[in-house]
Every structure is written in C-alpha cells, then in structure tokens.
C-alpha cells in the first residue's frame, strides 16, 4: 500500500506553476520574432517621420511629447490641468466648468 504523501500534490502544483512560468517565458522568446518585425516597422516610421515620442499618453503636449515639453510652464492647457507628469495623466481635467474653455463658457454654447 503506497499512501499519498502530502508533499506530492503540493510539489506537483508548484512544479506545474513553475512549468507555466517557463512556458510563458518561452512564449516571450517565441513571440519576439513577430515583435521584432513590428518594432522594425515602427522604427522605420520613426526614421521616416522624425518622430521623437510615443503616442501612449496623448492628453496634453507635456504628455504626448514629454521629452519636448516646456520645462517651466504651468497651466499649459487648462488651469486645472496638473503640470507634472504622472499626476497630469492620471487625474483628468475636471469636466466643470467646461472642457476646452477657460472657465467661461462662450455665450453661444449656453
């Protein structure tokens, strides 16, 4: 009679998790071929257009082109827009008093 030792299933589960991790890491290596063609294509566009920044955070000029934004300008787009990088992208400009207008909403819009 061979009884199951408590470590057997636990080690099997841990081993399986480690194997999954290994598979995921292998997938990383495997996916890198496709990634490299995509990156090469993007790099080509970057070269052709002379782009300097990614389009990841497009909400304001100091986030779309963080490398080229002015260094010392508060309220670049909105008085409520935080000028410092991460806060500015995480906290949106409040909806009030009006998106895109500076405090005063044009008469026509009312």
């Amino acid at each position: 009679m061979q009884a199951r030792r408590p470590t057997t299933p636990v080690f099997i589960v841990l081993g399986a998790l480690a194997a999954l991790l290994a598979i995921e890491l292998y997938y990383t290596a495997f996916a890198s071929a496709a990634r490299n063609t995509r990156l090469a294509k993007e790099a080509g566009l970057v070269r052709a257009l002379g782009l300097t920044d990614t389009a990841l955070f497009t909400e304001a000029r100091y986030t779309r082109h963080p490398a080229l934004a002015d260094l010392n300008t508060p309220f670049q787009d909105h008085p409520m827009g935080f000028d410092h990088f991460p806060s500015g992208t995480i906290v949106p400009v409040p909806d009030l008093p009006g998106n895109g207008w500076l405090i005063f909403e044009p008469e026509a819009k009312k």
């Binding site: 030792r5 408590p6 470590t7 636990v10 589960v13 841990l14 998790l17 480690a18 999954l20 991790l21 995921e24 890491l25 997938y27 990383t28 996916a31 890198s32 990634r35 995509r38 990156l39 294509k41 993007e42 790099a43 080509g44 566009l45 970057v46 070269r47 052709a48 257009l49 002379g50 782009l51 300097t52 920044d53 990614t54 389009a55 990841l56 955070f57 497009t58 909400e59 304001a60 000029r61 986030t63 779309r64 963080p66 490398a67 080229l68 002015d70 260094l71 010392n72 300008t73 787009d77 990088f85 991460p86 992208t89 995480i90 906290v91 949106p92 998106n99 895109g100 044009p106 026509a108």
Partner: protein, 380 residues
C-alpha cells in the same frame, strides 16, 4: 535521494499535513498573498514591456532636436536655424519640422498634426494620412469617410482620409495626422519661413555632446534635446508609473507580512503543544525551525509563482485590463496595440526578493521563539 533531502521532504510532509487541517484558511492565505504579488508583477511587467518598446523604437529617432524658447515657452523657429546647425561639423543633416497639436472638441481628444519630410508620406492637398486612433475616436463606420475639423466656432474644414496607418504601428502613430505643408500653414495660419523645431542627425553618436555644446554656444536661445535625453525621460517615466503601483503593492506586502509575523508569533496553545510533542519525540530546535521555514517557504513561493504566472497572462494575453486605467491615464486616444511580452531575470529576481524575503524575515524570529521551547515541557 540524500538523507538531507529526505529529511527536508519529511519535514515538508509534516508541515503540509498540519496545514491541511485548516485547508480553506491556508489556501485563502496563499491566494491573498498571490493577489498582492499579482498587482506588483503586473505593474512591473507592463512597465518593462513599455520601456522595452519605446527604447527599441526610439533608437532611430533624430539624435538632436532643437527648440526655440521664448519667455520659457516653446516658440516658432526660423528656418535659417536649420542651416546654421547644418554647418556644425559632424552634423549630417538638419531639417526644420512643422508639427503641432489639434484639440478635437467633438471627442475631446488631442491629435498630433505633422508635415512629413519623406516624399512618400506627403499626402495630396486637401487630404490627410491618419493614425488608427483618429477614425476610432471619431467613430467612423466606413473607410474613406471625410474628416471635418473646426478650429473655432462656426469653422469647418474638410479633409479626405488618404489612408490610415496600420494598427501595428499604433504605439507611435495612433494620434498622428499627416498633412502637406501648404494645408498645414493654411490650417494653423503659420507664416512661411517659420517652423516648430529643427531636427538634426549626427554622423557619430559619440559626438552628440560636442555638437550640442557648439550649438548652444552659437545659438544660446535654443534648447537642444538629445535622443538619450528622450530615452532617459521615458525610462524614468515608466519607472515612475511602475513605482507608483509598486508602492501600493509594497503597502500590501507590508500589511501581509505584519499579519504573517503576528500569525507566527501568536500560535495557539494547541500548536505550541504540538511543537512541544515534536521536540519530545526527538526533533531538534533546528528541525522545528526548518519545518516552519518550509511553511513560510511554501506559502511565499506558491504565492510568488501563482501571482507571477497570472500577472503575465493578465498583462500580455489580456492587455492588463485591471490596471490599464492607472498605467494609461485618461487618454482619449489610447493606441490599440498588443503589448509585446518582455520579461527578464531582473524582474523575476526583484519580484522573488520582494515577496519571499520579507515573509521569511518576518516569521523567522517568532518561529525560533516557538522552536526553542523545552522538550520536557509536555511531560510536566
């Protein structure tokens, strides 16, 4: 197997048999810790992937960008500056660029409008080439729908969409709108001879610093931004976002570790008696410590593996839906692209250290305190 390994396995067996008595509670413990690891791992994987992407893509960005700064703000630059920079030794080419932002009031998004230099990219007058994000933001149902842009109340200008960039370049081009120069100057009312900035390419990358120095001496009112500045900015930027989430996760780990230390030091009378029995039947202090370390090791290793594996799937197979809002911010146009998986030993080692070390550290001293009881206590 050596006796050492057999002893370890026997100790692990005991630990597990004793954990199995409160199976639900202990599985819940691993699961909660795994969630903390998952948060941390997701943030790290996401940031590492973005860092990798940007540095790979921006490797071909222009070496030097020159801006004109007036009263601390960026100003339009004269085309003649390009010629002057082109004369600096080591500069292969210097071209003025025209680009700017257009705020689309209809959808509340910012577009980046640009005049391409490459003749193949220049659209016909009256038409534009757009990134995949713009038709998406505008909700275009069919391709070829014209784009109407208004600069002020009552103004409306029609552009035909000549073509759109494929979404596999979305990371760079999502919000991009390419126009020809005449349309651009007309649309933004920019006088001829003025440009946004100047980009220069350099023959030998090692000379960039010298060129920047010479350039700043010749043109003191200009700001020179180098490619490594840009790359550095990006590395820091993603570090910042990662750090933000990591700090949150660290608070989670801390809370968990305090809980673990509390659990290890506040053993119930029943558990104390069990350890007394073990010592009485011939277990050494060291055996008890090793047995309890197995408990901590299995809990933290299990949580580490579980958290890491699920975080990988979460970020790279499902696009990090849980944390995207924090990592992406509130961008209206967020590029629609699949993150390329990129994980290296650095991240895994950091994760392992951050999850396993504090857990073991917090439980070691309480474990030892329990383990060093008198073996004859159970007889008294």
């Amino acid at each position: 197997m050596t006796p050492w390994l057999r002893r370890q396995r026997a100790l692990a067996d005991y630990t597990l048999a004793s954990l199995a008595r409160r199976k639900g509670k202990n599985i819940a413990l691993v699961a909660v810790y795994a969630i903390v690891v998952f948060v941390l791992a997701s943030a790290m994987f996401f940031a590492a992937s973005l860092r990798f992407e940007t540095s790979a893509v921006l490797r071909d960005a222009p070496e030097v960008t020159v801006q004109k700064i007036t009263m601390g703000r960026q100003d339009l630059i004269e085309g003649s500056v390009a010629e002057e920079i082109g004369k600096i030794r080591g500069v292969t080419s210097a071209k003025p660029r025209l680009w700017g932002y257009y705020y689309d009031r209809i959808v509340g998004a910012n577009y980046t409008v640009m005049v391409p230099d490459d003749p193949e990219m220049i659209p016909e007058p009256g038409s534009v080439i757009v990134g995949e994000g713009i038709p998406r933001a505008r909700g275009f149902k069919w391709s070829g729908a014209p784009l109407f842009l208004s600069r002020y109340e009552g103004d409306l200008k029609r552009f035909d969409v000549a073509r759109a960039f494929e979404s596999d370049s979305a990371l760079m081009t999502s919000d991009l709108m390419l126009m020809n120069e005449a349309d651009f100057r007309d649309f933004f009312e920019i006088p001829a001879g003025l440009y946004t900035d100047v980009v220069a390419t350099v023959r030998n990358p090692n000379e960039v610093a010298t060129i920047v120095e010479k350039g700043s001496n010749a043109l003191p009112q200009m700001r020179f931004v180098t490619r490594s500045d840009i790359e550095r900015t990006y590395q820091k930027l993603f570090d910042w976002r990662e750090g933000l989430l990591a700090a949150l996760a660290a608070a989670g780990i801390l809370a968990f570790v305090i809980f673990a230390a509390e659990k290890a030091s506040g053993l119930s009378a029943e558990e104390m008696r069990e350890i007394g029995i073990l010592k009485a039947v011939g277990w050494d202090t060291r055996d008890v410590i090793a047995m309890k370390l197995w408990e901590g090791g299995l809990v933290s290793l299990g949580a580490f593996l579980l958290g890491t594996v699920t975080a990988f799937a979460h970020v790279f197979f499902f696009g990090a839906p849980l944390f995207a809002p924090i990592l992406k911010g509130w961008a209206v146009i967020y590029p629609d692209f699949a993150l390329a998986p990129h994980v290296d030993g650095l991240e895994l080692l950091t994760l392992a250290l951050l999850t396993i070390v504090p857990y073991i550290a917090a439980t070691l001293v309480p474990i030892w305190r329990v383990a060093s009881g008198d073996p004859d206590a159970v007889m008294r």
